[in-house]
């Protein structure tokens, strides 16, 4: 079922790149004149202006292609994304290898403009195209005993130069609790800006969980496994003190490496100011109830 969640912004806000730049310059000018306060009402909306195509596609973490921010953009062309199939197995009624084209033919692609918050304390706003994970899971038929969903990224060393180093225990793995996976916000993205997903952004199919730190939004997915056990996840396996299973964006819980109380929006240049980080990355209304009764300082 598509269109369960409505964007805060219209399509015009995404496509009109030049208008976006003009507006930013105007805002900057106003700030300089001390007129920022006058634009108070518009400010919340300004914060959700999408980043540019260049920003979204040139600054990525995709360690299979290297640990530098520009490595994915430089190396991801090596990746073959067609043919592509996703194995859905575990506690499902219809397990098997699903061809990506067949999945697409069953799904309704919609646009979702989401905040994207990296655990490294930078952020973007990305106009994604995709479908709800809930719809894909319904296609495979989730059994009642399933409690968790595990995801795996492709591991193909000859196309992924970064995997030559054991920065992480490949393949990259992530997971969600079933209710998180079924939340209408949880997206399987197939594109950005109305175009196919560039390889560095996780082509052809990636997860987007906008209220969690970016590393939860696993890229280039080849396997989805339903299970009754909490699955192991890559960053948690590498350093459990720093990366919890939940990894919800939470300005009150400091990461051992970075303060999470503020973030820097990509694209503001050398003198870009930090902005406060929002609880659940601004999606508190949509997702907070899933964590009722949980101590979020303990379940990081």
């Amino acid at each position: 079922m598509a269109y369960r969640w409505t964007n805060d912004l219209t399509h015009d806000d995404v496509t009109s790149q030049s208008a976006f730049l003009n507006r930013r310059q105007i805002m900057a000018g106003m700030a300089g004149l001390g007129l920022g306060a006058m634009a108070g009402g518009a400010q919340a909306q300004e914060a959700l202006q999408p980043n540019s195509w260049d920003e979204v596609t040139s600054y990525n973490n995709f360690y299979e292609f290297g640990t530098g921010k520009d490595d994915p953009a430089d190396n991801a062309h090596l990746l073959t994304t067609s043919p592509w199939s996703v194995t859905i197995d575990g506690l499902v009624d219809r397990p098997g290898a699903y061809d990506f084209k067949d999945i697409l033919s069953e799904m309704t692609i919609e646009e979702r403009i989401y905040r994207f918050r990296c655990v490294e304390a930078w952020s973007m706003v990305v106009p994604w195209n995709g479908f709800e994970l809930a719809d894909l899971l319904a296609m495979a038929g989730v059994q009642d005993s399933a409690k968790y969903v595990a995801f795996e990224t492709l591991y193909r060393p000859d196309e992924m130069p970064g995997t030559a180093y054991r920065v992480l225990d490949w393949p990259y793995r992530e997971g969600l609790r079933l209710d998180e996976a079924m939340n209408p916000l949880t997206l399987m993205a197939t594109g950005i800006f109305g175009k196919d997903l560039p390889n560095q952004n996780g082509a052809p199919l990636r997860l987007v969980v906008p209220w969690k730190y970016g590393f939860k939004s696993i890229k280039s997915i080849v396997r989805i496994t339903l299970s009754d056990q909490q699955p192991p996840t890559s960053w948690n396996m590498s350093n459990s003190r720093e990366y919890g299973f939940y990894s919800n964006v939470n300005p009150q819980v400091s990461h051992p490496r970075w303060s999470q109380s503020s973030e820097r929006r990509i694209g503001g240049g050398l003198f870009s100011k930090r902005q406060p980080t929002l609880m659940f990355n601004g999606y508190e209304g949509e997702v907070a109830s899933m964590y009722d009764g949980m101590d979020l300082a303990e379940f990081i």
Binding site: W122, P256, W258, S259, S262, R264, L270, F271
Partner: protein
């Protein structure tokens, strides 16, 4: 070959080293301003300055072993290399303070709470007296204790490399290479007989 190189080095004035060495600082800043460092120029600039400082640390620590083992004499440039290293560490720190963290209360919290930042700051504080005494007057004034004081550079080298190893996510190769280089250069300073494979230290102890 080596004699030619040493001759050339003897003729090279130190101001050339200072001049060339300082050039990247404003150049990188300009690149950051004009988009040459990508869409997140603050982190990029911070990283570039930090990495240059580490490279100068490696070079500085290589001067003695180069002279001892390869008889290439860079001694004349050691002060320049050290002061350049201090300049880039300062640039790195300033970018972190003013452009990256920005918030004074968070700066203090970061230094106390985050071990890689504590280690980095310790390295900077140790570097400060070395930079201040990198002049002829201090050398005369301090006498033999000047040499002792400047052995702090060994500790600074290790602190700098460990800072880099700790700040990256996961076990990455590049910072480990710096750490290996710096530890290697320090090991070369040990008396030769101790690292010769024929005399195993275990047997010596027994």
């Amino acid at each position: 070959m080596r004699d030619r190189l040493n001759q050339l080095l003897r003729r090279l004035p130190t101001w050339v080293v200072y001049g060339l060495g300082l050039l990247p600082a404003p150049w990188l800043f300009y690149q950051g301003l004009t988009g040459g460092l990508g869409v997140e120029p603050i982190k990029a600039l911070e990283h570039e300055y930090g990495e240059l400082a580490l490279q100068l640390l490696v070079l500085g620590l290589a001067i003695t072993p180069l002279r001892k083992y390869l008889r290439v004499n860079l001694l004349k440039f050691r002060r320049a290399v050290g002061l350049l290293c201090f300049s880039y560490v300062s640039c790195h720190l300033l970018v972190w303070l003013l452009l990256d963290v920005q918030l004074p209360e968070q700066i203090v919290a970061d230094i106390i709470k985050r071990p890689y930042i504590t280690i980095g700051m310790a390295g900077f504080l140790l570097l400060l007296p070395l930079a201040l005494t990198s002049n002829n007057w201090s050398i005369r004034r301090l006498g033999p204790s000047w040499r002792k004081l400047h052995r702090a550079s060994y500790v600074i080298g290790v602190l700098g490399a460990v800072h880099f190893v700790m700040l990256v996510k996961g076990l990455q190769l590049e910072p480990l290479i710096y750490l290996a280089l710096i530890v290697g250069l320090l090991l070369l300073r040990l008396p030769v007989r101790r690292i010769r494979p024929t005399s195993s230290p275990r047997r010596q102890r027994a």
